[in-house]
Structure formats: structure tokens, C-alpha cells
Symmetry: C2
Subunit: 315 residues, 2 copies
């Protein structure tokens, strides 16, 4: 079943007692600096520290006792793995996560906290997929893809549903693009509720596969990327590319320096901790300052699982 | 007029349209780690980044046009100075701040942001007082003491007033002690609203003048202190000592290591930025883990004006 505003509403009803309705923060000083009215949806305060719990819990809660008895499994650079493990704990079933060995420590620790059974793989997608398939055969666990899954995307869309209910008449919604799950759900929810709204997807220049796919109309495969925004290193799937082509108006890319500067502004002025991937849409808003002057701009901060020392060492 | 629950309520009515009603955050993971129900009143999200705007704005808004025409003046290690400057901007009058030359950069920048006319002094209290008196004579500005002032203390008490309205039946309230203004207002508000509540004042071991004064009954003068909790280096006055003797049940001190560990836990689990002075009561709660087990504990995070790189370098 494709993702629609109805599937997103259903997801919200299914998961709302398990997750936080996260706050929308504003800051006079940031509005003054950037010259627009900014509304920050703070998924850094979400359970497990990122929006990923929305999609993971929607997928896990949607399965019957029988379907799910042998557990769930995924491959993930971190946040989706922790989210899936937390959702599995809620249903008292095992969770298996295949993570690249170079995941940030803070994300490895989270997998431990939520009692995931972790297998480390090489960094290539091929190695992750092979390890995962081997484990599916061994355990009989149900595979929950981090984004190439309509139930996961419907869950991710609930974040923008809440944002649209909190902010009166936003002109623009901006969110980061990694695999495209958050962007798909966000854009479907926003356009359904406000057809004239502009949707801007935001990517690191060093992981600009979505931008190239969007402009060329041809889906780019994953490539080795080195951006500090570790949550955005994945590539779109056919499914998320389809949703994004249909609902997103523009994709903006930002440099590593712009990501760092935006992160510092947020920590300093909003007094909150967000991870580097989260800052990408705010960095894009700063870059698009002229075009967005005076607009009401909703921005999704996707998560807060930052290595504190590492991030501030970049400031 | 001494500080009472009535003067605190009057202060709240006077200032409430100028300040933020800051959120009270909770965290399942911190509750689990510490073994009590914690309610964090987040003055790091307050205007000017600390609770100080409550006292400063109460003092400034309480003066007539005539009284205040030549501006206001104070000496301050930082947060009170910025708060007074912001309150002065609201009334369109000049503000003069005498700050020790070794104030953290982040606090010096804030003084600039709020357009204070800043004079730097030596670090000794004597030098600060001399500079301030000289400036009072030159300018005719009204001196607003950072804590030895009942109007300022009544303003500071509004923070606990809001906390008591947000949390059902707290057993304990904990706040930091520097000059004792926040602790005085907090303890007066809490005891008036809930006479059986326990009030715990919290200090760095390296600035334990209030603890010694409290135990001995004899007010200690200021001494050179080197704690990283830069907002708590000041000593009690006769006035704040009087309020604290009457309303506080216990004063706990914590080591520099305990302050750092508590700060790291907050940044990591709550995903918020608080300054080192703010962590002192949470560090004390962790130290008093056994005595406070299972209790409902309200903790005031006094501010968020942290030098991000410096603080994480301590983690």
C-alpha cells in the first residue's frame, strides 16, 4: 500500500502512545540572524534520540504476534538500528542489527542500551546486505528496511504531521535526505495538508546522490561518501525516489563547513544538542537566506545522537 | 520589604510577558540511572540564557521612568550583567556592567549582544566594587546588585513558582548556591507552597562558603575560588544567608569531577546544553542517590551559557 496522508494518520494513531510528541522550538536570535521565522521540530528529544523510532515502531506494532515471534532484523548506520531494537523491546521480541564497524561510538552504545544483537560488517552496502541475508536465514527474523518500506515511511511522516499541527501556515518545510524515508513521509504529509507549501530536501554536497537523481531524473546508486553527516550517507531507493520526484520542489546541497556552522549556531543559541546530519536543512535555510527572507519555515531536526567531543572539536 | 510568596507572585505578574515560561523536562534514562523521578526546570532556555533575567527584569520594571532615566549598573561575572542589559533595552535606558577581565568569552559576547557598556576590572570583589562606585558617581545610574536585593530575589523565586505549578507534589527541590539569590527565592517559594518539602542547596566543594556558613551559623566572607562552575564563585550576603538559614534544609557540596560527570549526563541524555554551574544540583542528586531513592525531585538548571568547546574538553 503506497504512503498517503491516511496511512500517515493511521501510523500516528498506532505509535502515539509509545513516542514523544516532540516540541517545536523557536528563537528570536536565530530568526534575526537568518531573516525568516524558523520552527524547529526537535526529534533530538524523541525516544532513542531520533525520528527513526516513528518508522520502526510503526512497522513493529503493525505485525501480528505470529509474524514477529522470531524477532526483527535490519542493517543500519545507527539510529534506525537503535529504534528497531527499542520497538522490539516493547513487544518483547529479539532484534538483530547489522552495523558497519565504523559507526560512531555513541550509536554503537545505543544499540547496546536497547539490547540489540549486533553484527558488525564492512562499510559497503554489499557487505551489510550479505550479512543481513545470512542472519535472516539463520534466525527467521523479519527484515525491516530503514527506509525502503512503506510502513516505515508512513511512520516517518508522522513527524511532519505533528509539525503541521503546531505551526500556523508554514510557507516551506525542510528536511534532510539520506535514504529518503523521512523526506518521502514529510513531503507527502505536508503537501496533503497544504498543497501550496514548498518542500525543500537537503543534502550534504559530499552525498548529493538525491540531488543528482532529482535533477537528472535517473536514480543514482550509492557511492562511497565521506560527509560528517553520517546519517545521510545512504542513497535513495526506487521507492523513495518516486515519492520525492512527486512531492519535493527543490533539493539544496550544503558544504561540510556550512553543516558545521549551522550546528554551532543551534547548540549555541537554542541550547540543544543535535547531530550533524540534523543541521543540514538549517544549513540549507541559511544558504537560501535571500529566497526565503520573511517566510515561515518549518525545519525537521532529525536526531540528537552526537558524539559531543567530536562535534565541538569541529567548531 | 522582605521576600515572601506574595512578593514572588507580584514579580511573576510583572515579568511574565517579558520572559519565557521555561519547560520542565524529564528523562526515563536519567531516572533509571539515578533511581529517582527527576524534574528539570530548564532556565538554559530562558531569555539571555539564564534565570538571571527574572530578577533583573523585576528590578528594572519596578522602577519609575524618573528613577531609571540615567540607566542601571551592576557588577557581575556574566549572566546577571547580560540580563540587566536586556532588561534595560526593554526600557530603552543605558546599562553599565563591571565584569572581571577573566569572564568566559561566551559571557563577554552576551554583554555585547545586549549592548551593555562594559568596564573590565580585576577579579577581586574589591576591584569590582571600586570600579562600580566610580561609575555610579559618574553616570547617576541605579545600582542593581546581582543577589543582595529583595526585588531581584523575588524575581529569582518565580522560577520555582513555575516549577511547583508544573510538578505534582515534589518531595525535594534542589538549586545551586552562588550569592544565594536563586536559592533564597527558590526556598521561600517552595516552602510557602508546600511546607513539608525538603530544600537542598548545592555548591561546588571549591566554593563551599555557603555550606560552612550554614553549618557554623557564621557568615563566611568571599575567598579566592577556582571552581569550573564560574557562576557560583560568589559568597552569600547577610540577606541571602538569613533567607537560607530559615528555609533551606541541607547544603550538599560536590567535587569538580562530579560536576563534569553530571554535565555530561545531561548533554548526552537530555540533549540540551547547560553550563557547568547548572549541573551542580544534579551532581548533588547523584551523590545523594541513596537518601533520595524513589523521591520526586525538582532540579533547577540555572543557565545554558556554556563555552561549548571548553565544556566538552572536560568530558
Amino acid at each position: 500500500m503506497p504512503v498517503t496522508i491516511n496511512s500517515i494518520r493511521e501510523a500516528h494513531n498506532r505509535i502515539k502512545d509509545f513516542i514523544h510528541q516532540t516540541p517545536v522550538l523557536t528563537s528570536h536570535s536565530l530568526n534575526r540572524i537568518v531573516g525568516m521565522d524558523l520552527y524547529f521540530k526537535c526529534e533530538n528529544f524523541q525516544k532513542t534520540g531520533s525520528f527513526k523510532i516513528r518508522g520502526a515502531s510503526n512497522a513493529v506494532l503493525n505485525l501480528s504476534e505470529e509474524q514477529i515471534a522470531k524477532g526483527v532484523i535490519t542493517h543500519s548506520s545507527g539510529n534506525h538500528g537503535a529504534a528497531l531494537a527499542q520497538a522490539a523491546l516493547w513487544r518483547n521480541i529479539p532484534s538483530y542489527v547489522v552495523a558497519p564497524h565504523n559507526s560512531p561510538d555513541v550509536k554503537k552504545q545505543a544499540l547496546e542500551t536497547y539490547k540489540a544483537d549486533v553484527t558488525f560488517s564492512d562499510v559497503t552496502l554489499e557487505s551489510r546486505v550479505n550479512e543481513t541475508n545470512k542472519l535472516i536465514n539463520e534466525t527467521g527474523a523479519v527484515f525491516i528496511h530503514p527506509y525502503d518500506n512503506d510502513t516505515v515511511i508512513s511512520g516517518a511522516g508522522t513527524c511532519c504531521l505533528e509539525l503541521m499541527e503546531s505551526v500556523q501556515n508554514p510557507d516551506v518545510i525542510m528536511a534532510p535526505i539520506g535514504g529518503g524515508g523521512l523526506m518521502s513521509g514529510t513531503s507527502i504529509a505536508a503537501k496533503a495538508l497544504s498543497p501550496d507549501i514548498k518542500i525543500i530536501g537537503c543534502e550534504p554536497e559530499l552525498a548529493d546522490d538525491a540531488c543528482i537523481s532529482f535533477k537528472s531524473g535517473v536514480l543514482q546508486g550509492p557511492k562511497p561518501v565521506r560527509t560528517i553527516a553520517d546519517g545521510l550517507r545512504t542513497a535513495l531507493s526506487e521507492r523513495t525516489f518516486g515519492y520525492i520526484k512527486q512531492n519535493v520542489d527543490h533539493i539544496e546541497t550544503v558544504s561540510e563547513e556550512e553543516i558545521i556552522a549551522a550546528t554551532k549556531l543551534v547548540w549555541h543559541h537554542l541550547k540543544i544538542v543535535i547531530e550533524l546530519s540534523s543541521s543540514v536543512p538549517f544549513a540549507a535555510a541559511i544558504k537560501l537566506k535571500k529566497q526565503l527572507a520573511g517566510k515561515r519555515v518549518g525545519i525537521i531536526f532529525s536526531g540528537g545522537n552526537a558524539d559531543l567531543k567530536y562535534v565541538t572539536s569541529l567548531f
